[in-house]
């Protein structure tokens, strides 16, 4: 494990959250005992455990939810039908997003419209050495407020001590002044972009570590192939391989029925996750969800290029358009994720067609030993043509 230091460190807010939990609250943090990594360095509720607790009410019920800029049932929820049933039981849901989404349409009692990039001041930092100001160039449309404004106003209401800033500008200045010596208006005035000089061999000069000692920012100071942290937390401390839960090797009986390995999550240039399907110029570049399949597999399963096909396993199915390409490995298919249809009816039960092409329907809701992620990259499926009457 090698950790590095972001020179502009605008993520510092996350760690401050610890300071505002009382000891009584801290022990009630969801999932704190379920996975060792939750006790160290991640001041959040554990996502999967939170869903389980919503389902069972144990050890205490969860009655409401705040959804900000996330489209769970369209994008990242595995077993989305199950998540839908669980979230439908909540007493109160409020959501903030620039667009109406299937998730908002399904659950939200209150919706706050969010301003777009040109309508807000903000910061953007890739963790690799650049810091950019997002500079407001237009007034937000209608009643929209930026995510920063919404968080600041809500934060002041919920816990004024944790949100001492008078304005978004003050907050942005707070985030950058320690590492840059600039206020947010000064950052904007000098062009809105900072880019540090690259400096090599920092491990020799002590610039990688908080204590100024030479070495990497790890407990041993060495470049750790064997992770001291992981070992201490009870995980395997070496990057060993473990076969995935469902595969030709781990579940041969399933493989007999579902003879293709499928992977998902690949990005496309014109959309990101579940975003951008409602922007005509971008949608035109990639109008439908695509399943990539090798020509030999397509022939074997009676599929022609551009045909709508079902991708199915024991958990469910979704339909996408086959794209036959020799770049796919034989026996493996690649499915688009995040698809919904903003042009369709958004009311129940259609919800912008969110169930039609939803590849996460096939994915098991199980984050494994680590407590992170799910097998989005490796499940089994079969693929067959959609009948005309099923469209």
């Amino acid at each position: 494990m090698v950790t590095y230091k972001n020179p502009y460190d605008i993520d510092q807010m996350t760690m401050r959250d610890y300071d505002y939990l009382s000891p009584e609250q801290a022990v009630k943090r969801i999932g704190i005992n379920a996975y060792p990594i939750m006790s160290f360095g991640i001041p959040l509720s554990h996502p999967d455990e939170t869903v389980f607790q919503m389902e069972t009410g144990d050890p205490y019920p969860i009655k409401g939810m705040w959804i900000q800029t996330t489209n769970s049932i369209a994008c990242m929820a595995s077993e989305p039908h199950r998540i839908y049933d669980i979230m439908s039981k909540l007493d109160f849901v409020a959501a903030a997003d620039p667009f109406m989404t299937p998730t908002i349409a399904a659950f939200a009692d209150v919706v706050l419209p969010v301003a777009m990039y040109p309508e807000e001041d903000g910061l953007y930092s890739e963790s690799n050495y650049s810091l950019n100001a997002i500079a407001k160039a237009a007034k937000p449309a209608g009643e929209c407020k930026s995510d920063y404004e919404i968080c600041l106003e809500l934060g002041k209401h919920l816990n004024p001590d944790a949100w001492p800033w008078e304005s978004v500008e003050d907050f942005l200045t707070y985030q950058i002044e320690g590492t840059t010596g600039l206020t947010f208006p000064e950052l904007k005035a000098q062009g809105g972009m900072l880019y540090t000089d690259y400096e090599y061999y920092k491990y020799k000069t002590g610039k990688l570590r908080g204590d100024g000692e030479p070495g990497f920012n790890t407990p041993s100071g060495k470049f750790e192939l064997q992770s001291i942290f992981f070992g201490a937390w009870g995980y395997d401390d070496l990057p060993t391989y473990k076969e995935v839960p469902e595969s030709p090797i781990s579940t041969p009986e399933l493989f007999a029925e579902y003879p293709l390995v499928f992977t998902s999550g690949a990005r496309h240039i014109e959309s990101f996750h579940s975003e951008h399907r409602q922007i005509p110029r971008l949608r035109n570049m990639h109008p439908w969800p695509e399943l990539l399949i090798h020509p030999d597999d397509a022939e074997k399963y009676g599929i022609v290029d551009g045909q709508w096909v079902w991708i199915e396993n024991q958990r469910g199915r979704g339909r996408q358009k086959a794209k036959i390409t020799p770049t796919m490995k034989r026996g493996v298919v690649n499915a688009d994720h995040g698809w919904w249809y903003p042009e369709e009816d958004g009311s129940e039960p259609n919800l912008f067609g969110v169930w039609k092409s939803n590849i996460n329907t096939l994915i098991k809701f199980d984050c494994g030993e680590s407590g992170m992620g799910a097998s989005y990259k490796s499940m089994l499926c079969k693929v067959y043509p959609v009948k005309e009457e099923e469209m």
Partner: protein
Amino acid sequence: MERKGLLIDYYYCTGCRSCEVACAMELGIPVGQYGIKVQEVGPWEYGERGGDQKDWQLSYVPVPTDQCDLCEERVAAGKQPSCVHNCQADAMRYGTLEELAEYMGDSSHQVMFFPK
């Protein structure tokens, strides 16, 4: 007036299609039409290099259409054409044949267009 054109170093074109969007936004071209359009040539496998290595054909080449005016307005204002300005790989140049010829032969996979 000496004709101007585009030199495209398509060895570096990743097919990101930024030029398509930048052009359409600049000239107000309707959705589904283009002032420049990225063409995909491939993919197909055509040879062995030994071991697991194969030779693949896969190129992306942006091709200007008849709706391209080489960004007359931008150029008159002293700017680069929108596609050139927005090329994420810095793989496009604008100029006269003579100016562009200086870059030709610097590398393989180059093409020159004189759309107007």
